[in-house]
Symmetry: C3
Subunit: 247 residues, 3 copies
């Protein structure tokens, strides 16, 4: 789509098809809780995940990646150093990265580190309402707030993705997985609004397709992966609800 | 229920309803193997889990929690220090905590650390038969041995929960998840026997409801989460078997 | 089967039955991403997994194990030291161990460490095509390359396992889980070719049984665990395809 145009369900279908054709590598500096779920999510949409946080190896892994996701869950000193090294590598190479300031509302140290990272220029910052209220709108990085409705940017021209299902909030890691999927989409689409809207439409529609096949949050988490693998243009054109404010 | 009375299936239904209404925060110092499974279990019964073991952040997270679970699986030096700091925070605040001495029968260092923690006054110590034989009955903390039958306390007045399914032993982490659920129940019920019996009845009945919907241990682990989410008063009153020795 | 004879589907059925009877303990030095999935896989075939990477405890855990699996995913400095200590313990006791050089094609440090470990004499080295091309055939250790077809050894006398399903590549950790299952089989079968062929036939046939019960990679990962639990002689004799080159 032309840079600056509003993303549509067709945009989402096109960017998803590109992810599946190009198979971008996504390196994840990710909390230990949801590493497998996130890796599975990136894989089934068509990307290739890697996960190490080792300080000695991070430069090699970040150097091979097409996009990076930095997730602050279960943060410790070694992962903090690894994050800074990985960000330096991808910034130097001009590759996109997304910051997910998980639980920055729980710990002042984590919030301070999130602000330190924002100063380094993430392509996108994604969090829930409590996290994004503290992150604010100052500094670089497209802001995305996910929840019952996902909001990209703010003010006039903001984009809303009105897909999803309430069980997403009952499966640990759907937000983290979504961050990884956004990174995969950023790797193949330079317009951050288009990449983010596409990724959020794909995860939101997949959730809607998964819910009626599930008995509760446990089977929903599994059916969500199945749906992310099966989803395509037809499902996106019929289900995606990408809205925007009037200019 | 009155302090000191025997817990019944109605107790379990009442405490579960309170967890769902009050949404207690449970911080988990938890082995990396089963973090997501435990977080999912706490979430679907109605609690809000957090998982960091970082030394710098643990005081902030423990301070926000309503209960703490300390699990000794995949223990390392940093987590050991984080555990001691978290226990100090919750003890100071008078909040409940549960110790799960995973595999203390494998390593003398781990058993020694378990005894060091017991001296700090856990509300509950929960383990399997091999672990609890080594833990013994000296020192503070209500003792719970889980297995085919779960036993709370010992001697006259001991309570037995006779629910569950053999597949629980074939899914890594059901014991750890149960520890997290007990912590959520302790956060809203000051009588430790009532909280523990209620949590064990909920997990045991959920397992019984999940098994006939499953093809094996893999699908059982998923159906168990679905059942923990769906279970309520009706299922507990008809299925929970909470027995006690005669006084 | 006689040492040196070619493994057959009956070999696989016999070794699996022995694993279920003897319940070998398998210690896993394993990346944090797939610890639960691997532990579940080892458990459902009949083994008993343990997972710590703590330097202080590793000697006690490795000493209690009947076999060891060393997996280089998400490698860091502490796990590297723990690996060397665990290998020293099992080598001293004459117990088998398997090396899984995950992503050694991503990082020169990781490849160098893989070669350092091969010099210590693993019973088996298992990887995908990209990894095994770099590992080469010099030094000790039976070589196994897993993929659409699994290959054990090379040249005349090589064994091929032609089971499996394409969804195995879309579930993070099936290769790591397979490494853990091979270790469980090595613990009860001294002929490494027979142990490996049996383990690969069991995992490959389980995948074939799981696929038609699944809607996509998510439910396939779960059905795969169910199938590993349920599989027995009948399924192996009718489905296992263990081929070998002519001598």
């Amino acid at each position: 789509m032309p840079m600056g145009a509003y993303p549509t369900p067709q945009t989402a279908a096109d960017v998803l098809a590109r992810v599946r054709r190009l198979r971008p590598r996504v390196h994840c500096l990710m909390n230990t809780v949801v590493q497998k779920f996130t890796a599975d999510g990136i894989t089934v949409v068509g990307g290739i995940p890697s996960m190490t946080s080792s300080l000695e190896e991070i430069a090699a892994f970040a150097g091979k990646a097409d996009a990076l996701t930095v997730n602050l869950g279960t943060l410790d000193a070694e992962r903090r150093r690894a994050i800074l090294r990985a960000v330096a590598v991808v910034n130097e190479a001009g590759k996109p990265w997304i910051l997910d300031p998980v639980h920055c509302d729980y710990s002042p140290q984590r919030l301070a580190f999130a602000h330190e990272l924002i100063a380094l220029g993430p392509t996108i910052v994604r969090g829930n309402a409590a996290e994004m209220a503290l992150i604010g709108t100052d500094g670089p990085g497209l802001r995305i707030q996910t929840g019952a409705v996902d909001r990209i940017g703010s003010g006039r021209g903001a984009v809303r993705i009105e897909n999803g299902h309430r069980w997403m909030a009952e499966v640990t890691g759907t937000g983290c997985l979504t961050g990884g999927v956004i990174a995969a989409f950023l790797a193949v689409e330079p317009d951050a609004v288009a990449a983010a809207a596409s990724a959020l439409a794909v995860t939101g529609v997949a959730a809607e397709l998964a819910a009626p096949l599930s008995r509760g949050p446990g089977s929903f988490g599994i059916a969500f992966l199945d749906a992310l693998s099966a989803i395509g243009e037809r499902e996106l054109l019929s289900h995606a609800r990408i809205e925007h404010d009037q200019d």
